[in-house]
Symmetry: C2
Subunit: 333 residues, 2 copies
């Protein structure tokens, strides 16, 4: 099934969305918000699945009561992030080609441990942009960048869960534009306490989907499809999310849960998707610039300017969008 | 006023607690949870204040309807963290004597920028221990430590708020035991992405209080009282929280809000309280060990063992607890 939220208050209004992302129906009779549904997932998931089945059965033209055009609501900016705010977002950096290139560009080695111990940080979860909301930044000199990533959402994960156990706690899959302020990163990382100002709020895809919606493209706790991005309508990249992902989502969950439980609704990010095959393009400007540094000795592509538009999408073998696209304009505060 | 939560579901049940922490009454008629109250603070705060006034008026012996013994509920383990889960916790390291000593012990300098640019990290907010809950850790070899800190809670803070504006968004004050797993820190910080496994869940004090409850001890956006801690009943430290705090809470909020808004209910931590005056003791074992390293060349005090008990309290000039004490036993998963 596919789940989203209409903008309403701080936590949105839970909706079930049709497979083709054209139609939707409120699910507030089952749970008022997606967080509430996740808080009682074993009870709410079967009910939501039944509603989804009814909505799908209506696809042939027979409308169900209360359904509305999801595509129109999305275009009108009425769709919130599926989780407009969440209690936890832990973001990995699981695609080692990205890490290797970033290090190579600055003449540093990748420590051997990076191939067995995931890089992961505590990210801001208190607010996610809706899929069509502008990215608001006080100053373009901060170095505005996108990061196209896959995310999964968990139910309750016990402390010290193994990767094998963690795999059973993946309940939803989606996309994030993990907005990064590149020019704030070096000084912040040098202080040693990780990202704070340099990783502001991110956007989620219009819907989160249960893994079965991906069919055979969901296996080994990875999404085996290209993650496509465009900037100002120009192709930016389409790396395969199932390739070069050093740590799968079960391993990332287990890493985060080593010393604490993860609550229902925890979002786990893959990190910017990147492949060894450079012809597939990039999922962030930092990657593109690093390739330029490796090739030319210096970067020629600037970070984004106010007015620039980012689009991120995950499509199936037939080109149909799975989670809906993230489309955001960079805007000055 | 003083606000807390009884254990109930994931988010607790909002209660108003008497100034002497002896009595309480459910405030669920005003807002079901503290998060809900904070989400509509301008509406709920006056109502909660009125209920608090009624509860206080009953102190002379006249009970109000529904009141119960808060001290008994606390002793029985029925009291949750005031915010059992929160959307954001950003933790500072505002007491420079601590930072200076940690660096001195490893032969490093404190960068000049540390005196003008706060150290702060994105901390886990998805779950807080109640004030009497055990601290559950899989392995004592992780190096279990307390960190006694002051926290404040904000209402909605706009992006890029100045410190002067940020001061007006401090609505509640309390304590945190910011549990740290010291032996996991060096490897994690070396990876460059900050704390994740090394900073598990923390505990909050039994109640959070409005700043007026501190009287003249709340000024300059700081708490001017000693923060007391004990380990296994032994005095551990009582540094003055109003001294040596390089950045006040308004500055810490402004630092965190540089590139994003902070939502209602954001928790901002001071960092482990430490003074230049070493005779006042420490607020964490790391500090105690660092002083031993500086004095003797090596630490002699180990981190905590399972069964060890931590107590943290903030008392007024007459010795009365303001937020209630945090009392936690270290426990194996």
């Amino acid at each position: 099934m596919k789940l989203g939220s209409l903008k309403q208050g701080r936590d949105g209004e839970l909706i079930v969305v049709s497979r083709d992302l054209a139609r939707a129906v409120r699910a507030t009779g089952i749970a008022p918000t997606l967080q509430a549904a996740l808080d009682s997932w074993s009870v709410s998931a079967p009910k939501l699945a039944a509603l989804y089945a009814r909505l799908q059965a209506g696809s042939s033209g027979k409308r169900i009561e209360g359904e509305f055009a999801f595509d129109a609501a999305l275009a009108e900016g009425k769709v919130a992030a599926p989780l407009p705010r969440s209690y936890e977002f832990v973001d990995g950096s699981a695609y080692l080609p990205h890490v290797e290139r970033v290090r190579r560009a600055r003449g540093a080695q990748v420590p051997e441990s990076f191939y067995s111990d995931p890089l992961m940080y505590q990210a801001v979860s208190a607010g996610f942009y809706g899929p069509r909301d502008p990215v608001v930044v006080p100053d373009a000199a901060y170095g505005i960048d996108l990061e196209a990533e896959i995310v999964i959402v968990t139910d309750d994960v016990p402390m010290a869960a193994t990767p094998a156990a963690a795999a059973g706690h993946i309940v939803l899959v989606g996309l994030v534009n993990d907005v990064s302020l590149r020019n704030l990163i070096p000084a912040e990382l040098e202080k040693g306490f990780g990202f704070l100002q340099s990783k502001p709020r991110s956007a989620l895809s219009p819907v989160l989907v249960t893994p079965d919606e991906l069919g055979p493209a969901w296996r080994d706790n990875k999404v085996h499809l290209p993650l496509r991005s465009w900037v100002n309508g120009q192709w930016f990249g389409a790396p395969e999310a199932g390739e070069d992902m050093q740590f799968d989502f079960a391993q990332l969950i287990a890493h985060a849960a080593k010393s604490r439980p993860l609550g229902a609704g925890t979002i786990v990010g893959s990190g910017t998707v990147a492949n060894q095959d450079e012809s597939r393009g990039a999922s962030c400007f930092a990657e593109k610039r690093v390739l330029e540094i490796i090739r030319d000795g210096k970067p020629t592509t600037p970070f984004m300017a106010f007015g620039d538009v980012v689009r991120i999408d995950l499509t199936d073998a037939e080109g149909r969008s799975i989670c809906g696209s993230i489309e955001q304009t960079m805007a000055k505060l």
